[in-house]
Amino acid sequence: MEVASLEVRCVQKRYRGGVEALSGVDLRVETGAVVCLAGPNGAGKTTLLRICATQLLPTSGDVCLFGVDAVRHPDKVRDRIAVVPQEARPDPDRSAWHHLYQYGRARGLGRAEANTRSEGALKILDLWERKDVITRDLSGGLRQRVLIGMAMVTEAPLLFLDEPTTGLDPVARREMWQVLTRLRQQSTVILTTHYMEEAEVLAHRVVILDEGRIVADDSPRKLVATLPYRSKILLDDSLDEQSLAALSTHGRLEELAGRPVIYVREEDAMTGLVEALTARNHSFSVSPLTLEDYYINALRGGK
C-alpha cells in the first residue's frame, strides 16, 4: 500500500482549560489529494490542521506525515510541509519579493534557488509586476497571495492552508481559487474553509467536523448524492400560509432568510409542484442541491 501523505489515528485534543477540541479523529489523505476540512466555528478544523502541521501537540493519538511519526519526530517532516495559518498577514513594511525570498532562505534554500523559486511563484501568482511594492499597499487578495507564495516557494509536497480565502471579496476569492488550483498540481493540499462552494470547486474530498468529530467524509458529489432530496425550489416570499401548507405536501418546507424553500424528493413531486406553482401564477426558481445543502443537513443531524 502506498504511504499516505497524512495519516491521523485516534487524535484527541483537550486544551488546558478542559475544552475538548478533538475527540478521536481518524483521517487518511493520499498523495495528490485536495482535502477540505469544513465545519462550524469551534468544530476543531484549525486544531486538527495545526496538529497535522506540527504546530500543536495532540493530547493523544498518532499523526504520520509521509509515514513518519510527526508527533514524536516533527523535525523529520517539517522540510516537506508548509502552512498558511488562519488570519496570517504579511509584514506591511516588506515587499512580496522579500517575503518569498527571505522565507525561502530561512527554510534553508540557497540564494540562487530562493531567487528562482520566488520569481516562479510570483509569476504564477500574477504578482511579478508588483514584486517590489510593500504589502501595506496591496489589496487584501494580493496580500493573501503573498502568503500563499511563501508556501509555494517551499515546493513542499504537503500544504496546509487555514481559511485561505476568508475575508476576500467574491472576485478575489475566485482569483484565489485559480491559484489553489495551480497549487494542487504540485502538492497535496489540506485546507479549511467555511465556504461550501469553495470546497465543492476545489476539493477531491470534503471532511466535515462537528464538535471535534468527523461527521462526513467523501467527495462533494457523493455527499450531495446521499441527500434524500433531488432539488430545491425557492418560492416567492409573498405566499400566504394556506398556499405554503398546500405546497408543502410536495416536499420539505424550509425557510431561507425569510424566503420559503421546498426540498423535493422525487422528479414526480417536482413536476407536480412546478405545475401547481405555474397554475397559481407564483414566481419561483429551481436550484440543484449543493454541498451547502448537504452541510446544513449533516449538521442538523439530517432533521
Binding site: L57, V83, Q102
Partner: protein, 240 residues
C-alpha cells in the same frame, strides 16, 4: 553554516526600526552634558560606558520582544514552526536582528571614546567581548519578556519599563561610588551593573581586582545562561 544563513534570513525579514531606536539612544547625551558640567570628563566617561550598556540593552530588551510578538501577531512564527527551522536558529535570528539595532550607536560611542582617548587600542577586543555579553544578556531578558507578555498592545510599555529599570536604577550611567555604601549591595542585584563595571574595569576607569573581574564575568554569564535555559525550558516551539 546553514543554520547561520537561516538565522540571517530571519534577522533580515523584518524592517529595521533604527529611526524609532534613535531617540532612545540619544538620551545619554543630556546626561553626558550634565555630568560633564558637574564633574568634567572624570564623571562624563561613566556616562559613555553606561551609554554602551544602554544601547546593547535597548536592542535585546526592547527591540527583540517587540519583534517576536509582531511575528506572533502576524502569524509568521507559525510558518517558521511548521518549517525546517530549529527554535535556536529562530532565536539566533531574532538576536541578530536586535544586534543590528545596537551597532550604529555602539560604533558612534566607541568612536567618541577612542577620539577622547578613553578607549586604548589594546582594550578594544576585551571591550567588544563585554559588549557581546551585554547583547547576549539583553537578548535573554528580551526573550523572557516575549514569553511572559502575550499582548502586543502592552509589549512596548513593558519592554521600555524593564529597559529603563535596568539602566537608570543601577550604576550603569554613573559610578557605583555615588551610591551610599549601605545600599551599594542592592546595585549588584541588577545584571547591567556587572556589565558596566566590567567595561569600566576593562577600560581602566576603575581598579578591579582579579576576583572582582571573575565575579562580574561569572554573574553576567550565569544570569545570561540561566535566563536562556529558563526561556528554553518554559517556552514551547510547538504549542501544547
Amino acid at each position: 553554516m546553514k543554520a547561520l544563513a537561516q538565522a540571517f534570513a530571519i534577522a533580515r525579514f523584518r524592517r529595521l526600526d533604527l529611526e524609532w531606536h534613535l531617540p532612545g539612544s540619544l538620551i545619554p547625551l543630556v546626561l553626558l552634558f550634565i555630568f560633564f558640567l558637574l564633574g568634567g570628563m572624570e564623571l562624563g566617561q561613566h556616562v559613555l560606558v553606561g551609554w554602551l550598556v544602554m544601547v546593547g540593552a535597548s536592542g535585546g530588551v526592547s527591540v527583540l520582544p517587540q519583534a517576536v510578538l509582531f511575528y506572533r501577531y502576524i502569524r509568521l512564527q507559525e510558518m517558521y514552526v511548521a518549517a525546517p527551522i530549529h527554535p535556536l536558529t529562530f532565536m539566533m535570528g531574532m538576536g541578530l536582528y536586535s544586534l543590528v539595532h545596537s551597532l550604529p550607536a555602539w560604533g558612534f560611542v566607541l568612536a567618541v571614546m577612542y577620539v577622547l582617548g578613553l578607549l586604548p587600542a589594546p582594550t578594544i577586543p576585551l571591550v567588544l567581548l563585554v559588549l557581546l555579553l551585554a547583547w547576549g544578556m539583553a537578548c535573554a531578558i528580551g526573550f523572557l519578556i516575549a514569553m511572559a507578555v502575550r499582548r502586543i498592545a502592552i509589549i512596548s510599555v513593558v519592554a521600555t519599563m524593564v529597559w529603563l529599570l535596568l539602566i537608570s536604577l543601577p550604576p550603569v550611567l554613573y559610578p557605583a561610588d555615588l551610591i551610599p555604601e549601605t545600599f551599594r549591595w542592592a546595585a549588584w542585584l541588577f545584571p547591567t551593573a556587572h556589565i558596566a563595571q566590567l567595561l569600566r574595569g576593562s577600560l581602566g576607569m576603575t581598579e578591579l581586582a582579579t576576583w572582582e573581574f571573575i565575579m562580574h564575568w561569572a554573574v553576567s554569564l550565569a544570569v545570561t545562561c540561566g535566563l536562556l535555559v529558563w526561556v528554553a525550558a518554559r517556552s514551547r516551539w510547538r504549542e501544547v
